[in-house]
């Protein structure tokens, strides 16, 4: 599939259909999860009452900011080894979307934690290791975009940015471990989505209410589709921009 789409022409043909479909499906799914999450499901008093409704954005965006950084590094790697121009276009498009989702994850996390975990806003940000990891990830995205913007030609920017993304991804696990060690007293609950399927009887309060889980899964799917649609849209605009620049260069040369 990916190698099939590595051809820019095929990609443009594919994405012309895929972008609106992904957008439509994504909006419907996110909308459904938000509608249910914000208005229908009962608030969980243990997790901050109504504030816990931020979870339906927070958890999907947390998964996406990690996933998008991995995708960024993957695309950079592909470009660096095989020089598929489209891989660089993809990496370039992923960066702002990824930065957006890290910001979203951080903001919703702060809202959720504001009351739910009994900590003030300030304590939450500086006291929670997972949110700090997200914040570091945000700066990795930011540095990536700043480096791309600072270099004068597309080729240089692509190469430098690819090196940076690869250096970044090998450091992400270390950053994660270090931040976890720094603040062992996380106010985060342990990941509860995974434990839903565990067969042995759980003590009260662990695991997740299936009502919540359902909305979360809608959110996961919807946000993933939305992110994919936005990335492809940016890629399309980048391909068009490059074509335009090429025409412009030729025209200026001829004049």
């Amino acid at each position: 599939m990916l190698s099939y789409l590595a051809n820019p022409l095929r990609f443009m043909r594919f994405s012309r259909l895929a972008v609106p479909i992904c957008f439509a499906l994504g909006i419907v799914m996110v909308g459904w999860s938000l509608y249910n999450g914000l208005l229908v499901v009962p608030p969980d008093e243990r997790q901050g009452g109504d504030l816990m409704r931020a979870m339906f954005t927070h958890v999907p965006s947390a998964w996406l900011c990690m996933g998008l950084y991995a995708a960024l590094a993957g695309a950079s790697f592909v470009w660096y080894i095989w020089r598929h121009e489209l891989a660089d276009v993809a990496a370039r498009a992923i960066a702002p979307i990824g930065a957006g989702y890290t910001a979203l994850c951080f903001i919703t996390g702060s809202i959720w934690g504001q009351k739910g975990w009994g900590a003030g806003w300030h304590n939450l940000i500086l006291g929670d290791s997972r949110l700090m990891s997200v914040l570091v990830l945000f700066f990795l995205f930011l540095g990536y975009m700043a480096l791309r913007a600072a270099l004068e030609t597309r080729q240089k920017a692509a190469r430098a940015a690819a090196i940076l993304a690869m250096v970044g991804i090998v450091n992400v696990p270390i950053i994660k471990v270090s931040v976890d060690m720094w603040q062992t007293t996380t106010i985060h609950q342990p990941s509860s989505v995974i434990s839903i399927g565990s067969p042995e009887p759980r003590e009260e309060g662990s695991g997740m209410n299936p009502i919540y889980l359902q909305q979360l899964l809608w959110g996961f799917g919807g946000h993933t589709l939305l992110a994919a649609a936005m990335v492809m849209m940016l890629m399309r605009s980048e391909v068009y921009t490059q074509q335009g620049d090429r025409l412009l260069a030729r025209k200026l040369e001829g004049a």
Binding site: E152, T153, R154, Q155, D245, L248, A249
Partner: protein, 191 residues
């Protein structure tokens, strides 16, 4: 002596941004030859020379080099704190050359300012220091970017004589040049 060219570049191309600088350029340098790269400002002479030297990646085409080469770019490669003598000593050490740096300095006319930091030297003296590197080690291929720049007539004659000796000894020179050449070239590559 084998007949293989010292350098052979085939179907070379360069793109800067979305702008195509040149495409499908081929350069061959055989022993004893002087090749000049010609073209207007911005036509990509320096880019082509850097591709031949392996400093820039060729966006198209292939380059084969028979061995090491000397590179004199349009920047001289001198650090501000270096003197001509310390500069040559440094690269002699890096390359493992046993040549006498003082003799080289004398031959290129840098005996007097040999211990003056480069930031106090004139452009011509810096250029001579860079050109003195050519004498540190015997390398068959010289890649020179505007080598006559900043040199006085004395210096130009000196360099022309050096190039002549080098070619007679079976070496080859590829030079990017925008002005008139003091030496007759075997071939010109026009961009």
């Amino acid at each position: 002596m084998s007949n293989a060219p010292l350098l052979h570049g085939d179907g070379l191309g360069a793109v800067r941004g979305e702008r195509v600088l040149f495409r499908d350029v081929s350069v061959t340098a055989n022993a004893g030859e002087l090749i000049l790269l010609r073209g207007a400002n911005g036509s990509g002479k320096t880019t082509l020379l850097r591709q031949l030297a392996g400093l820039s990646q060729a966006q198209a085409g292939t380059i084969e080099r028979a061995g090491l080469h000397h590179w004199i770019g349009h920047t001289n490669g001198l650090k501000a704190h270096e003197t001509p003598r310390s500069h040559l000593r440094h690269w002699a050490r890096v390359w493992g050359s046993a040549r006498d740096v003082d003799i080289i300095l004398k031959e290129i006319g840098l005996q007097r300012p040999a211990n003056v930091p480069c930031r106090m030297l004139s452009a011509g003296q810096k250029r001579r220091t860079a050109l003195a590197r050519l004498a540190l080690e015997d390398r068959k291929l010289w890649l020179l970017d505007e080598p006559f720049n900043a040199l006085d007539t004395d210096g130009q004659d000196l360099l022309a004589a050096r190039i002549k000796v080098h070619r007679a000894a079976g070496g080859a020179v590829i030079a990017a040049l925008h002005g008139a050449s003091p030496i007759e070239a075997d071939r010109e590559v026009t961009l």
